[in-house]
Symmetry: C2
Subunit: 231 residues, 2 copies
């Protein structure tokens, strides 16, 4: 069915180390087509960018969380919910202790939209394939249990798309409905990454062509604190 979407895990990507060329590694492992959306987890982007720091076992990772935060919103026990310097609201400033070398932690990319653009540009110019790139991370939510993957960076995709701004099927004018497709794509990709261990990349094929374009997650998705009813 031409209107269907296929989500494929990219198998065979080994351990990523600081300085690794992610675009080359992904090109080697995946058969990309023009119009694909490539979803890459934050962890491998952070590793490739060398965003690894030593955690002092005597003081733990909390000082790091504070250092990576613009401000702390809530604390409960060991949990710190803060706003990162990018504007993301998440637990522990997005710092990752799992699947990282013992004693080390992976910080978020400094500029996650730039990271996405870097991968996209390398794939376009060196590997000749025109894909959008989404960098995903796993965040909790208020009100709802369980975590879901959302986008922390993107390139080549309009992060928010007005899907229902036209008249509804009954002929009346609808309110604009701005859908965060970039986050829905990150969540969809997670469904195949979670099936196997250590799958840091997935391909989403069949995304509506009109959704490709400019924008980034920090500029388009992060809500201005002044607009936010719950901060």
């Amino acid at each position: 069915m031409s209107q269907s979407l296929t989500i494929m895990p990219v198998i065979g990507i080994g351990e990523i180390r600081p300085g690794d060329d992610l675009a080359a590694v992904i090109s080697e492992a995946a058969e990309l087509l023009d119009g694909d959306v490539l979803v890459v987890t934050q962890k491998v982007v952070s590793k490739a960018e060398g965003r690894l720091v030593q955690v002092d076992p005597k003081i733990g990772h909390k000082p790091l969380v504070i250092k990576e935060s613009a401000r702390v919103l809530r604390r409960r026990g060991d949990l710190i919910i803060s706003e990162t310097k990018h504007g993301f609201v998440c637990a522990n400033a997005g710092i990752d202790l799992s699947n990282v070398e013992a004693g080390k932690a992976a910080l978020l990319p400094l500029d996650s939209d730039r990271s996405a653009r870097g991968i996209r540009d390398a794939l376009t110019h060196r590997f000749g394939v025109d894909v959008a790139v989404v960098i995903s991370d796993t965040f909790g939510r208020p009100w709802r249990r369980g975590v879901t993957d959302v986008a922390i960076g993107s390139a080549g995709l309009r992060p928010i798309v007005d899907l229902r701004g036209t008249n509804d099927a009954l002929g009346r004018e609808l309110q604009v409905t701005e859908v965060a497709v970039v986050d829905e794509i990150a969540s969809a990709a997670e469904l195949v990454m979670g099936k196997a261990d250590g799958v840091p990349v997935a391909i989403v094929r069949g995304v509506e062509p009109s959704w490709f374009g400019d924008g980034g997650v920090v500029a388009d998705v992060v809500r201005d604190p002044g607009e936010d009813l719950f901060r």
Copy 2:
């Protein structure tokens, strides 16, 4: 690729009216296979269940929002963010004014997990196909702009799955990571529903078999207000 996921819109479902037999309508329009997850939007479930009420144009829909809410959390201008009687936190108590007959509004199903079970049971017993059912709705989020689809009801699926409770690739024990796959499936389905007008049902094919099982969104996903740091 056997580990991939396919998401297909179900085309050709016409206007749904109170009393319509959704399982029969869906069976007619879709070729379902055992192991599929069927995602159905709240709007058609509410219509089929006759959850339509008249809106008095003199007073608008706000009294309805208050009536459908367990408590109001925030107000700004015309926007009311409240907790519904199910425990969902959303705008306008999930009441839907678009694509509903003029002068009417669609309320959320009274028990959205029961609605999902009803569709699933009918498909199993009358149409002989063993699928999970997710009822989706479009909610905003704090911190992030744009709306995404989440689950408000489910049947036949474990809404939250521990995906990474085993040792990580580097051999250390990981924290349990409870992933709200039911919400990720709702978001994934929206990506194909938004491509065409008036597509209220999608099929997600290839979902990990171990995710099928018992549970519901209200019991498993709604966070207890006492646990919530932002209410």
